[in-house]
Amino acid sequence: MEITIKNLKDIKVVKLVGDVDASTAPSVQQQLVPLAELNSKILLDMTQVPYMSSAGLRMLLTLYRQTSAKDGKLVLVGLSEDLQDTMSVTGFLDFFTTGTTLEEGLAVLN
């Protein structure tokens, strides 16, 4: 699992590369949760996440709760078709803001 975090003005752009499952989710969470500060804008680029297990969804839910609690915004982009299906069935898509491309995600946050 590779995690790169860049700042684009006031937006924290996080790029994940690799599967997010029970073995990788804890370290992803550990690195991402501190990004949720007051009014922070986080863009999570998952274009290169081929697979996400329920442990990954749990990580997303934690991140969502932390950003919401601090009046921040979280946008997910580049979800694979499988992941969109899973997030749709489990109801996650109803709560998360998503976009297709990085540009689209940035536009939502700006």
Binding site: A22, A25, S53, S54, A55, L57, R58, M59, L61, T62, R65, V89, T90, G91, F92, D94, F95
Partner: protein, 488 residues
């Protein structure tokens, strides 16, 4: 030139001879050194051969003790010592085990040594100084402590600490009744040997520690597994004219999957299949919580408000209820409140953990075949008729525990005689073969499309195909299936 040469020879006759003698001397020394090196190498080889075999054995095992005994015997033989001993020590210098050469000491005598502290004499000196103690003649060395009434008189002694970094793991002592029996060469050989032994001993200690820890952990998990099984129904509830069966294959000792079948006081049957997010102990704890909350809430929740308003607000089919009896409809609705109550309980009390479960809860009237259900973010369930899949029971709301106060829509469907309701967790469709490819929905559906004689046969068919597919690849996720058939 010749003259010069001759002259040189003649004139330098004396120094030349000395030079030759010097060269021969140095050659002899070299040969001796080489011989010694070869001997040392031979000693090392023999000792190592013996020691390497013991990797992966804990300090307590007989294998290691036998090997240490052999190593000591070899060391005694190679140094031509008359007696040898090997003490394994605690950091304090207390003996934890004693091995003596040539098995001349009884277990009783060994037992007597264990627990004593080596703080005196040569051993005490070696322990304090952490270096090789070589005594050429005990009569001329103050480090040697002569004890009264000893049947054996020692004159030469060599004591070598077994050191690993700063840690003293043991001490080897070699003795002889004649003075000057151990050379510096031998002392050096034994020091090298002790280094190798230290490595083996430390390995054995670490292995033993790991082994104990992992056994304790395994025992704890086994207890957890037993208790978790207790959170699954002891017996699958079998109403008249119905057949219900389930399969449960956790990926680890404990799991987040569960199924439940139980009798409701309203003469209905509760059917649950669920998958708590993530894996292992955390998921297992939440499995126990959610299973219990669903069971308790479903038999105790009471609807509040006007019956007509409640029925109107919760219509499972747009514009109407499928059930003929409003009493049955109400009792199903009442039981299904367990889902939102459980959802709010988990989301409000455990929000910090972000745990949730995909959960299907169906309430079945076994007399009429009416099924009222909530699918909280779970994989679709299927109703199979004579010609395959008749209906797909998709999610009617989000996963349970994810967000407080969300709405879980209810649905109703009629199970006809012969129909099978089948539910599964994603461990089935996401089962991976050795190439990492998923079992997929497609494979599952093709198995569901073939007629089945009974629910057991259907579940066995899926199980066999799935485990054949996974083959020798590790099972990543818990696998659970629940099937319900209306026989008449």
């Amino acid at each position: 030139m010749q003259t010069n040469f001759k002259g040189k020879i003649m004139g330098d006759r004396h120094p030349f001879k000395e030079q030759l003698i010097e060269e021969i001397k140095s050659l002899r020394q070299e040969v001796t050194a080489l011989k010694n090196e070869k001997a040392a190498f031979e000693v090392q080889r023999k000792l190592l051969e013996n020691l390497v075999d013991t990797e992966g054995f804990s300090v307590e095992t007989e294998v290691l003790k036998v090997s240490l005994q052999k190593t000591l015997d070899l060391a005694t033989e190679l140094t031509q010592a008359e007696k040898g001993s090997l003490f394994l020590l605690e950091p304090s210098g207390k003996i934890v085990d004693a091995i003596l050469s040539r098995s001349e000491v009884t277990p009783k005598q060994t037992a007597k040594l264990i627990g004593t502290v080596l703080d005196k004499g040569l051993a005490g000196w070696v322990i304090r100084h952490r270096q090789v103690g070589l005594i050429a003649d005990t009569e001329k060395d103050s480090r040697w402590l002569t004890l009264p009434d000893q049947p054996y008189t020692v004159r030469s002694a060599l004591a070598v600490p077994i050191l690993r970094g700063e840690k003293l793991l043991g001490i080897i002592t070699l003795l002889h009744s004649q003075p000057d029996r151990f050379s510096l060469q031998i002392a050096e050989q034994m020091r090298l040997t002790a280094d190798q032994m230290a490595l083996v001993l430390e390995n054995a200690r670490l292995y033993s520690k790991l082994d104990k820890y992992s056994k304790a952990l395994d025992a704890e998990l086994e207890t957890g597994r037993q208790i978790q099984i207790d959170f699954l129904p002891y017996e699958i509830y079998q109403p008249a004219n119905w057949q219900i069966d389930a399969r449960f294959y956790p990926a680890r000792q404990v799991s987040g999957d569960f199924y439940d079948t139980f009798f409701l006081p309203s003469d209905n049957v509760g059917l649950v299949i669920a998958d708590v997010c993530d894996k292992g102990v955390g998921a297992a704890l939440f499995m126990a919580l959610m299973r219990s909350l669903i069971r308790v809430f479903s038999s105790q929740a009471k609807l509040q408000g006007r019956t007509s308003t409640i029925l109107e607000e919760n219509q499972p089919v747009p514009g109407s209820w499928l059930g003929q009896s409003m009493l049955t409809n109400l009792s199903h609705l009442e039981a299904l409140q367990a889902v939102s109550l459980t959802n709010n309980y988990v989301a409000q009390n455990h929000w910090q953990l972000s745990m949730f479960a995909t959960l299907f809860f169906g309430v079945l009237d076994p007399v009429t075949g009416l099924l009222t259900y909530i699918n909280g973010g779970h994989e679709p369930l299927f109703i199979l008729g004579n010609s395959g899949i008749k209906n797909t029971l998709k999610a009617t709301g989000p996963a349970v525990g994810m967000m407080p106060n969300v709405k879980f829509a209810i649905k109703q469907i009629q199970l006809e005689p012969g129909d099978i309701l089948i539910g599964y967790t994603d461990g089935v469709t996401e089962g991976k073969n050795p190439d990492g490819e998923l079992f997929t929905n497609k494979r599952l559906i093709s198995l569901l499309e073939q007629p089945a004689a009974s629910v057991s046969q259907l579940l066995d068919r899926i199980k066999t195909n799935l485990f054949d597919y996974i083959a020798d690849a590790p099972q990543f996720d818990d696998i659970t299936m629940l099937a319900v058939q209306r026989v008449f």
